[in-house]
């Protein structure tokens, strides 16, 4: 046995040349000692994971013993002495893999080869094998086949020190192609397969190439409505790296054969599954989870081939494994009617990621708007469960807490716009926030995740009862430290015209005595406005005026 014998393996057999091998078997039948082909790859891309070309054969009859040589040839030239040795007769096949390298351990170029199996006095088995270079270089997320508007670009809002909004800065969400000066899209210049790109997990800054947005290597998260079947358009690479770091073609189409994609966990779109270099195919992934959150998927891209004009598809060995990250939304992102700008392209990555964190920490369900709102109120406020502090570590702007009289820092009344990006950027405009800052953040964050009809509710002056402000250590009956326990106004949110209201700014006291400490925490999640135990009743000593307002814009 030669020292560089390809490894044997127990992988599933992949028979592409059924007709050919049967014919060879019939040719061998007259001989008392014969080679019988079990399996052979007809088309292979050894640069795929598990993509080595497979050959399996055995010698008959039982008890025979035969010296055999296996070589890979390009025309009349032997490029690789794959194996040689003596085989005892029997039905157990000899299984060999070819890694696509020659005897000098150099990668062979794409093209046509012949695997030749010979033994003394026997007709040789000559098996055609085409080395190709398969691979996906770009993936574009599209609306699902249902026709619903359910796929959205995700938004980042910060670029290094500069302050910018932009949607995923690309047409394709996944790109892995040659960088400037490189030889090919599918391979590195040393001929090895270009590694797949890991998911971009930063929630604020996108993938950068120096000071510019990267354009040739990235893997951005995708956003779909919950339960959707993502439709992905795959672009196949057309250029590979050959010997001497020269550009070469992908080696297919192979004359007489068709190649298509057949991904794990997905259905190819009928009529759009054929693969050609530089072309595209579309697949529909299996359905995403039915709640708001994050889902990690692995797209295992496989290829199959068939002889033109036949119906039998056979697997080409190996696969390309691409990690994908999906954020799922309650519905289409909703923004203010006159919304304009890149920040309105879709859900912000950081906002979607907050839900993931809060949901996990609180163990709550986000399959409907009620559940999502609960996660939001409790997560935003924090200080419970596994959440030690409020979002971004903010604190209600009250004098006893070190702040002042409830000033607004992240909302412009004149522009009617929430400065959410600065709030999420480590509370860049200051640690203290007030009710309007909370309202602006809550309405816009929930809306961009698909919550319907989120609106601010402006309240008139309030003579307050016991409350626990966001970021505060506990309840107080003296919010401002001066005895004036009152609001000149207050902002909360609603999704039903203020029949019920939600509030991320403070908790109320549910122990039946909201005019005294200690208190029993009461979250304001779809709390009825009116009646005993309603928001007005628990929050204020007076009857409070209210007015439902317009959804704010974003900055």
């Amino acid at each position: 046995m030669t020292s560089n014998l390809a490894a044997l393996r127990a992988a599933p057999a992949l028979v592409i040349l059924c007709a050919f091998s049967a014919a060879q078997s019939r040719q061998a039948q007259p001989s008392p000692v014969r080679l019988v082909l079990d399996e052979a790859s007809r088309i292979a891309d050894p640069k795929l994971e598990g993509g080595e070309a497979l050959l399996a054969f055995h010698v008959m009859p039982q008890g025979a013993k035969l010296p055999v040589r296996v070589e890979v040839c390009a025309g009349d030239t032997t490029v690789r002495k794959l194996w040689s040795g003596s085989i005892a007769g029997g039905v157990t096949p000899q299984r060999l893999l070819w890694d696509g390298r020659d005897d000098e351990d150099e990668r062979c170029p794409t093209g046509a080869y012949v695997v030749r199996v010979t033994g003394p006095g026997l007709p040789a088995l000559e098996l055609p094998l085409d080395l190709v270079r398969l691979g996906v270089t770009e993936i574009e997320a599209q609306d699902s086949a249902s026709g619903a508007d359910d796929e959205f670009q995700m938004v980042y809002f910060r670029k290094v020190a500069a302050y910018e909004h932009y949607a995923t800065p690309a047409i394709h969400e996944y790109v892995n192609v040659a960088r400037a000066g490189e030889v090919s899209d599918l391979d590195l210049d040393d001929g090895s397969a270009r590694p797949v790109v890991t998911v971009h997990t930063d929630t604020a800054t996108p993938v950068l190439d120096g000071s510019e947005y990267a354009v040739d290597t990235y893997n951005y998260p995708l956003a779909y409505v919950k339960g959707a079947r993502p439709r992905l358009e795959l672009t196949f690479g057309a250029s590979a790296t050959g010997p001497g770091s020269a550009t070469m073609g992908a080696g297919y189409p192979v004359p007489g054969y068709e190649i298509r994609v057949a991904c794990d966990g997905a259905d190819a779109v009928a009529g759009e599954e054929l693969a050609v270099p530089g072309g595209t195919a579309r697949i529909d992934l299996f359905a995403l989870a039915g709640d708001v959150g994050r889902e990690e998927r692995v797209l295992t891209v496989r290829w199959q081939a068939r002889r033109t004009g036949t119906d039998a598809w056979s697997d080409i060995p190996g696969a390309q494994v691409i990690p994908l990250r999906f954020y799922t939304l309650l519905g289409a992102p909703r923004f203010r009617m006159d919304a304009s700008g890149t920040q309105y392209a879709g859900p912000w990555v950081e906002v979607a990621e907050y839900v993931v964190t809060w949901k996990a920490a609180l163990g709550l369900d986000t399959s409907d708007q009620a559940g999502l709102t609960e996660v939001f109120v409790k997560g935003f406020f924090g200080q419970n469960g596994g959440l030690p502090h409020a979002i971004e570590g903010v604190v209600y702007d009250a004098y006893p807490l070190g702040g002042d009289g409830g000033a607004t820092h992240y909302f412009s009344f004149g522009a009617w716009r929430a400065n959410l990006s600065r709030l999420l950027n480590g509370h860049a405009l200051g640690r203290f926030i007030n009710c309007t800052d909370n309202m602006g953040a809550t309405t816009t964050m929930l809306s961009m995740l698909g919550a319907e009809n989120m609106r601010p509710v402006r309240l008139g002056n309030m003579s307050l009862r016991a409350l626990w402000g966001i970021g505060a250590p506990g309840y107080t009956l003296n919010l401002w430290g001066s005895g004036g326990h009152a609001f000149s106004y207050h902002h909360i949110v609603t999704d039903d015209g203020a029949v019920t209201v939600s509030d991320t700014c403070m908790q109320l006291d549910e122990d039946g005595n909201p005019l005294a400490l200690p208190c029993t925490p009461g979250w304001n999640v779809h709390r009825p406005w009116a009646g005993p135990g309603g928001y007005n009743d628990l929050a204020a000593n007076n009857t409070v005026s209210k007015h439902v307002e317009t959804l704010p814009g974003l900055q």
Binding site: A170, D404, G430
Partner: protein
């Protein structure tokens, strides 16, 4: 990214563009808010506020003793800078935030001060700056912070047609931050700016050229932008791009020094350039592009 139907996009975008300005005007202010603002005016004696002389502007690049400013952010004339202690580490948090607006008129500047004051939830009015020994602006108020006996949370004032708010980012972390000194320096900078003659408005920057070529492209195309702006004070203006959808894209200054709109999604784009001049006045101009399916 989705492959959208171009025709639908064009119709929607036309509707969106047609409705944008109207919708912006149509953001309804609630009666409760209007009443609250009116009460705020009365509470702070707005009608009796002394009126200072309007100024030509306030330099964006303010030199404030002991501080360096972070990147300028500008939204419709409100210029925001984060202030860091000079010599602090690169990842050190900002100590203060400076917001300024050079308005056309004194009345416009006062409206922003009223908006800031009306935003206070406490039913107790904020004290005038003089109460803490600060002589700043034509009219000024402060928010005392509970972080220390002399700590301030913010100072908001108007001098002439310039509205200013200086806020402490975290008075608990920096109770000794001298917000008064910062505000005084800004106020002095306004005072040094040339006074405007009666009836004159502060000069705005000029967007002499804003052009894209071509204006109809397939998604994925980088469109070269031709831009020329003139600063009223001959300084370096601040450019802010707003890519209005439904088409998508972003503007980037390439390493070759050329500005490009990188189109990433089909549909009409209303590309707006907002220029804030070196003295704080601003202007805006918009062009339309059509991005086709790739």
């Amino acid at each position: 990214m989705k492959r959208a139907m171009r025709a639908l996009f064009l119709v929607l975008s036309a509707l969106a563009l047609a409705s944008t300005s109207a919708a912006q005007r149509a953001v309804e202010r609630s009666e409760l808010e209007l009443q609250h603002v009116a009460r705020t005016r009365v509470r702070y004696g707005h009608a009796a506020w002394p009126s200072g002389a309007p100024r030509a502007g306030l330099a964006n690049a303010l030199a404030l003793s002991g501080f360096t400013a972070g990147p300028l952010a500008s939204a419709e004339g409100l210029v925001t800078r984060e202030l860091f202690h000079a010599g602090s580490l690169a990842d050190a948090p900002a100590s203060a935030v400076l917001e300024t607006r050079v308005a056309d008129t004194v009345a416009d500047a006062r409206e922003l001060l009223i908006e800031w004051l009306a935003g206070l939830q406490s039913a107790t009015p904020a004290p005038p700056a003089s109460e803490v020994g600060l002589a700043i602006g034509d009219v000024a108020y402060v928010g005392r912070a509970g972080a220390g006996p002399n700590a301030l949370a913010w100072i908001a004032f108007v001098r002439g047609n310039v509205a200013v708010r200086v806020s402490a980012c975290d008075p608990v972390r920096e109770p000794a931050l001298d917000l008064g000194a910062l505000a005084t320096e800004v106020d002095q900078a306004i005072g040094r700016a040339p006074a405007l003659e009666t009836g004159r408005l502060p000069a705005r920057p000029l967007i002499a050229t804003l052009a894209a070529s071509p204006t109809s492209v397939v998604a994925g195309t980088a469109v070269i932008l031709e831009v020329s702006v003139a600063d009223p004070a001959g300084g370096a203006p601040h450019l802010q791009w707003v890519v209005g959808g439904p088409g998508q894209g972003y503007v980037e200054l390439g390493r070759d020094g050329v500005l490009r709109l990188h189109t990433t999604g089909s549909g009409a784009i209303a590309l707006a350039l907002e220029v804030t001049g070196s003295t704080g006045t601003w202007t805006r101009r918009e062009i339309a592009l059509d991005v086709l399916d790739d």
